[in-house]
């Protein structure tokens, strides 16, 4: 599956002009509120007709302003999970789930009802009405409803934004399963780096209605140029690691090349691939291998890039066994250490600095 989008749309005081291709897997549309993410997904779904542009799914035009092609949303076979769920209040969960399936019954390749119910863990909810569901349960049902309509493509517009942290952590594993167990490509809209770091295979970064950067997840998150327009606080590189062992003191040992990370116990068997996002502001750099230090994670690498922003900070990317760790340090520290591209250095981070929602099962 490929999705190819280009959208030009003018709102009052805001111009959207974005074009990108999304390969199979999870493509995250990432950007601040008001960067045009929702407009882009609404265009893909056919809920909004932009001034100009083109939407191609598998090479087939859903919208093309040049030729006047416009496929109505009901005929696009594009599932949409909305931020607020949008379950039908007058139907039970079972009927909500069957709604799309009923219109899709002549289609090939629809996921089976039981499989989706099992995948999302919603069997106990089937006879309830949406009014009797919690926020997290509603979103799981909304995801199931979209899946059962046998979509060629699944759009998720900030499906976790309305939920508290605990509920997010409850749903994220289901989304990971969805990514790994179904072949349906997804467009996932979010302004939360942690969610994207766990789920995305490809990232498209939007800023003020323009495309800032797009590419494989680890590449985009590891790019020191990306964080500045989006806020350096959220910056952090994505590392793909392998579980080596679980230790008795409650820590799990992860391998990244020859380097080792020790993180609070992770629910995964030895050998499993785990993606870990390490926030740039939690990384300390040293030019000599430190000892007598409480931080457990010391990765050896070389400085690949040093990027200055407007503030007192710089973003340093450190290559560690072919992957990138981002570190946000002050200009003063950079000068004191004399950091230059190509220099050997050590990236140090505390085990407890890595939050639970920064750790995810790696897909693909």
């Amino acid at each position: 599956m490929t999705l190819s989008v280009s959208v030009k749309h003018r709102f009052s005081g805001f111009d959207l002009d974005v074009g990108f291709d999304a390969p199979a897997g999870v493509t995250a549309l990432f950007g601040r509120s008001g960067s045009g993410k929702t407009t882009v997904v609404q265009t893909i779904a056919g809920l909004l007709r932009p001034d100009a542009g083109q939407v191609l799914v598998n090479g087939k035009a859903m919208f093309d302003s040049a030729t006047g092609v416009w496929v109505p949303p009901a005929k696009r076979r594009i599932g949409y999970v909305f931020q607020e769920g949008r379950l039908f209040p007058h139907m039970s969960v079972r009927h909500n789930l069957r709604y799309g399936a009923w219109f899709a019954k002549r289609r090939q390749g629809a996921a089976s009802f039981d499989h989706v119910v099992d995948l999302l863990g919603i069997a106990p909810l089937l006879d309830r009405r949406p009014a009797a569901l919690s926020g997290g349960e509603k979103q799981r049902v909304a995801i199931g409803r979209a899946l059962l309509s046998a979509p060629d493509l699944l759009l998720m517009d900030e499906p976790l934004a309305a939920l508290d942290e605990a509920r997010k952590l409850e749903i994220l594993p289901y989304l990971e399963r969805l990514r790994d167990e179904t072949a349906i490509p997804m467009i996932y809209v979010s302004h939360t780096v942690a969610e994207i770091a766990r789920l995305a295979t490809t990232i498209v970064v939007l800023n003020n209605g323009k495309l800032l950067r797009s590419g494989p997840a680890s590449e985009v998150l590891g790019d020191p140029a990306v964080p500045f327009p989006l806020g350096v606080r959220g910056a952090g590189a994505l590392l793909t690691t392998q579980v080596v062992a679980h230790h008795d003191d409650g820590l799990s040992e992860l391998a990244i090349g020859a380097g080792r990370l020790y993180l609070p116990r992770i629910n995964a068997v030895a050998g499993a691939q785990i993606r870990v996002r390490i926030a740039a502001q939690d990384v300390v750099l040293a030019t000599r291998k430190p000892d007598h230090i409480s931080a457990l994670n010391i990765l050896e690498g070389t400085v690949a890039d040093v990027r200055e922003g407007d503030g007192p900070g710089v973003m340093v990317s450190v290559r560690v066994d072919g992957q990138t760790v981002l570190a946000r340090i002050t200009r003063r520290s950079r000068d004191a250490l004399g950091l230059r591209i190509g220099m050997a250095c050590y990236a140090i981070t505390k085990s407890v600095a890595v939050a639970r929602d920064d750790i995810g099962i790696s897909g693909g």
């Binding site: 779904a45 056919g46 009901a74 949008r86 039908f88 039970s92 709604y99 899709a104 949406p130």
Partner: protein, 230 residues
């Protein structure tokens, strides 16, 4: 029902028949117009809105006279319909038409209010699940506005039961043909010794109107609970 004289009973039965058909036949139009006013932007929307509400504001006599001008046997529209076998003038069908026109604004208002309360986002969601506009209306919109439709129907029915001015102007006051309950009360009050008959019909009117209101409230609340699933 021997406490009502045959003529009184006839008026009650006629009123029920007139109101039933007036409500039933205007309901599809009422839903359609309410939908158009609530959801569509089109040229002349305010004019349509005004036309629908006109019977609420105009003196009923004027509405009745306008109906006579449009649907009388001498009128162009009435003539065309007469050739198709549809006659309104001085028939119970005319009374039904007058009742429908007078009850229409109440019906449309109630349905439109409930339509305005339906989140169009739910209809969008249905579209992304593959439902065509007609299916969206039948499976999502209509069930959600059902309480409003019920209230509108019963209000329209109650208004039809009480319609007097337009009816008497349009189709006169012919016992057994166009003498509805209010017309009968009026007629009884015009003859000496008719007060008791009039009083009995007043009681019937009160009972029908009150039951309609109570019924609509109860039914609407019950359906609303069911729709919301709480």
């Amino acid at each position: 029902m021997d406490w009502l004289s045959p003529q009184e009973w006839q008026a009650v039965a006629l009123s029920l028949r007139v109101s039933f058909w007036a409500t039933l036949c205007s309901l599809p139009f009422g839903i359609f117009i309410a939908y158009a006013l609530s959801r569509w932007q089109f040229w002349g929307k305010q004019v349509l809105n005004g036309l629908v509400h006109l019977p609420l504001i105009l003196p009923p006599v004027v509405t009745g006279y306008l109906l006579l001008l449009s649907f009388g046997t001498q009128a162009p529209l009435g003539g065309i319909l007469q050739n198709l076998g549809i006659v309104f003038a001085f028939r119970w069908t005319g009374a039904a038409l007058a009742a429908a026109v007078m009850g229409f604004p109440l019906m449309v208002r109630a349905i439109r209010l409930s339509l305005d309360a339906v989140d169009p986002k739910l209809e969008q969601a249905a579209a992304t699940l593959g439902a065509s506009p007609l299916w969206i209306f039948v499976t999502v919109t209509l069930p959600l506005i059902l309480p409003g439709v019920i209230v509108g129907t019963i209000l329209g029915f109650a208004k039809a039961m009480g319609e007097f001015g337009a009816t008497i102007t349009f189709v006169s006051n012919i016992p057994g043909q166009t003498q509805t309950l209010p017309s009968a009360i009026y007629a009884f009050l015009q003859v000496p010794g008719g007060e008791n008959s009039a009083l009995r019909l007043v009681v019937v009117s009160l009972v029908v109107a009150m039951s309609a209101l109570v019924l609509s409230e109860l039914l609407a609340a019950r359906v609303a609970r069911k729709v919301r699933g709480t």
